[in-house]
């Protein structure tokens, strides 16, 4: 009964309801406008909302997250520019549909299927999280340490051009996270005697720099891209279409939840995998894929919204973020005094059910805003970059200042912004840096706990690791990733593949 009370909390309070609606509305536009990303928006929002009551802040941010994942699809359909990485697969068939004059129908159908996906994700979250959390209580410190390392490695290997660059970015993040007084012994680390550094570098400043400033600086490269407008017809989808594609949408929703729940993979990969799945199971599409097949539109849209619920599972039960957006989200939870991890569901079950209820509410708002306001939408999306980019800089700087009312945070943010610009330029992924900063203290503390519990002996740690099936699996996966990404493996593979052809 209690759970239901907490679940309905954001539905019954007018302020919370209003903030969720506002967040979802903002999220749709943030996701839709190329050049704005959910990661960027949530990083900036943290700085503005951290003095708020935690429920208010969460409502706004959950709304932005849910709306943002959906919003990317609109620009993908209308302009062939995915507003967010999770909408890359949507553009493949969405834009051809729009070119045929079916933009309205495509938007309507993608909205309904996004919402279906969203609900599947939330239901799985509500059912699976308590079980995962119970299992997670049995985790040893070494398992946490390995989970942290695994998350960073997966994001590093999937998001960049090479594993070395991804690992570099992750390690840099871990190092940034250690600056300040050591939480266990209060020894100074990288402080150079500066008292201001005792509290460490504020992760929000790093986030805004890496995702706000550096992203906006990159946008300056593509200032003069012409935009092709599409006509929008009826937007409420046909009931027969919804019924016909429901099985496919449910299948791809489950792909989305699972991919979303794995560490290191988020909505973008879920959407691409779902697109691939749709291609395989649709034997005779009415229209070939890539030329406006509705199956190719529905599959990624259902999957990327389902991935949101999936991503919440490791985030709330283990405290491990799956990708950059969830890393930023975990940062927000920490700042509001919540401790995402296995004890969250035991100590603060209300927070869990509140989040589930809030996600459901945000999903309903996606449906409402998704099927209305299309005229206003096409106006806002045309907002010229020459105006948009200066505003992003303004909000980033004010946001960094607002964290502690200190100019120091602005300097950190700018430094990371410029560094992030060059990292992006030379194909170093920035996501793992944020993941590293967020996971740094967790990994550090659990490493030390693990080694202390073995009385400082590495060989004991190593031997005991193989006594636990979970630790063995985690360790093998880490070794496997390292091995399969190394040049020795690729050389061996190439030799093996090319030999028969000779």
């Amino acid at each position: 009964m209690d759970a239901l009370n907490y679940f309905a909390m954001s539905w019954l309070s007018p302020e919370l309801l209003g903030l969720t609606a506002l967040g979802t509305f903002l999220g749709i536009y943030v996701g839709a406008i190329p050049g704005l990303s959910v990661t960027m928006a949530v990083s900036i929002l943290i700085s503005f909302t951290f003095s708020w009551d935690v429920n208010y802040a969460l409502c706004l941010m959950v709304g932005v997250y849910m709306g943002g994942v959906y919003g990317g699809s609109r620009t993908a359909i209308l302009l062939n520019i995915p507003g967010a990485p999770s909408a890359i697969a949507t553009a493949l068939d969405g834009y051809p549909l729009a070119k045929k004059g079916l933009a309205g129908e495509a938007i309507g159908l993608s909205t309904v299927m996004s919402v279906v996906g969203g609900f599947v994700g939330i239901i799985v979250l509500a059912l699976a999280a308590p079980t995962v959390s119970e299992f997670a209580i049995t985790f040893q410190p070494r398992d946490y340490m390995m989970l942290g390392v695994l998350g960073i490695m997966l994001v590093g290997s999937l998001s960049g051009s090479s594993l070395a660059r991804g690992i570099f970015a992750g390690a840099l993040g871990l190092l940034i996270g250690t600056v300040g007084l050591d939480p266990m012994t209060a020894e100074e680390r990288f402080t150079y005697g500066v008292v201001e550094l005792w509290d460490g570098i504020n992760p929000v400043a790093v986030m805004i720099g890496m995702f706000g400033i550096s992203e906006a600086l990159h946008q300056l490269h593509h200032m003069n891209k012409a935009v092709v407008k599409q006509k929008i017809s009826r937007i409420i989808p046909k009931w027969s279409d919804v019924k016909k594609y429901m099985p496919l949408s449910l299948q791809t929703s489950f792909i989305g939840v699972i991919v979303g729940a794995l560490p290191g993979t988020g909505g973008d990969i879920a959407a691409l995998m779902a697109y691939d799945h749709a291609k395989r199971v649709t034997k005779k599409p009415k229209v070939p894929f890539g030329e406006g097949a509705k199956e190719g539109l529905i599959a990624p849209e259902a999957a990327n919204n389902a991935a949101v619920g999936g991503a919440y599972i490791p985030m709330l039960t283990l405290g491990i973020p799956g990708d950059a957006v969830t890393a930023v989200f975990i940062g927000a939870l920490f700042i509001h005094g919540l401790n995402p991890g296995p004890l969250l569901l035991v100590e603060q079950p209300h927070m869990f059910w509140f989040t589930v209820g809030n996600l459901t509410l945000a999903n309903i708002f996606v449906l409402i805003f998704g099927l209305t306001g299309i005229k206003l939408f096409s106006k806002i999306v045309e907002c010229p970059k020459g105006v948009l980019i200066p505003l992003i800089f303004l909000l980033s700087i004010v946001g960094a200042y607002a964290i502690n009312n200190a100019v120091t945070d602005i300097w950190w943010m700018l430094a990371f912004g410029v560094f992030g610009y060059f990292m992006r330029l030379y194909a170093f992924p920035v996501g793992p840096v944020i993941l590293g900063v967020i996971l740094s203290s967790l990994t550090d503390e659990n490493w030390r706990r693990a080694i202390l519990s073995e009385r400082g002996s590495v060989s004991d740690l190593f031997i005991n690791l193989f006594h636990s099936p979970l630790s063995t699996v985690l360790f093998s996966v880490i070794v496997l990733i390292l091995f399969t990404q190394s040049p020795i493996w690729t050389k061996w593979l190439r030799a093996k593949i090319f030999r028969p052809s000779h």
Binding site: P85, A171, F190, I389, L391, I410, Y421, R448
Partner: protein, 178 residues
């Protein structure tokens, strides 16, 4: 997923230097991490930073060695493709903005920053830019300062006095109308 690497990786101008600087920086951080508590024990405060820095040194070395092997990308110029003047100018503007933000205050410095950067990037008539700047500044001010109650630097503009003057003026008007 954002970048699909071509079959033969090429390197952008400045990439080799950037990777080299990363190697140097990582080595420096490694040395700094070593100075925290040396190699005294595996659970010391310095152990984890030392391990992270070691990974950074290794990974940056691999990245640097790879740039030595890869051929330079053809037709890509640093000044044009990697660090165009527009990026440099905007960076400088942001720098100036953050320096004067505290002393001049949010309103004046943001107005100047928005006006100059929008004029520079959007290139419309001065009047258009002025309207956009004023409108967006008013919206940002209302949303963040008044609704979200975010503390913004006041600087030389006596903001609180103006706000309370407006408040009392509105009160007088309401009383008068009643």
């Amino acid at each position: 997923m954002s970048s699909q690497s071509p079959l033969i990786k090429t390197r952008k101008p400045g990439e080799r230097l950037f990777c080299f600087l990363l190697v140097m920086g990582s080595t420096y951080l490694f040395w700094q991490a070593y100075n925290i508590s040396g190699l005294s024990s595996l659970s010391s405060p310095g152990a984890f930073p030392l391990a992270s820095a070691a990974v950074m040194v290794l990974a940056s070395c691999v990245a640097f060695l790879n740039t030595l092997k890869s051929p330079a990308a053809e037709g890509v110029r640093f000044v044009y493709h990697c660090f165009p003047p527009v990026v440099a100018i905007i960076m400088a503007l942001i720098l100036v903005y953050s320096i004067v933000l505290d002393s001049l205050g949010f309103i004046l410095s943001s107005f100047a920053f928005l006006f100059i950067s929008i004029q520079f990037l959007y290139r419309r008539s001065v009047l258009t830019t002025l309207t956009i700047t004023l409108l967006s500044l008013i919206v940002v001010y209302i949303v963040f300062r008044l609704v979200f109650q975010v503390v913004l630097p006041e600087g030389i503009v006596p903001e609180r006095e103006i706000l309370s003057a407006i408040e009392s003026f509105v009160e007088i008007v309401i009383l008068w109308m009643l």
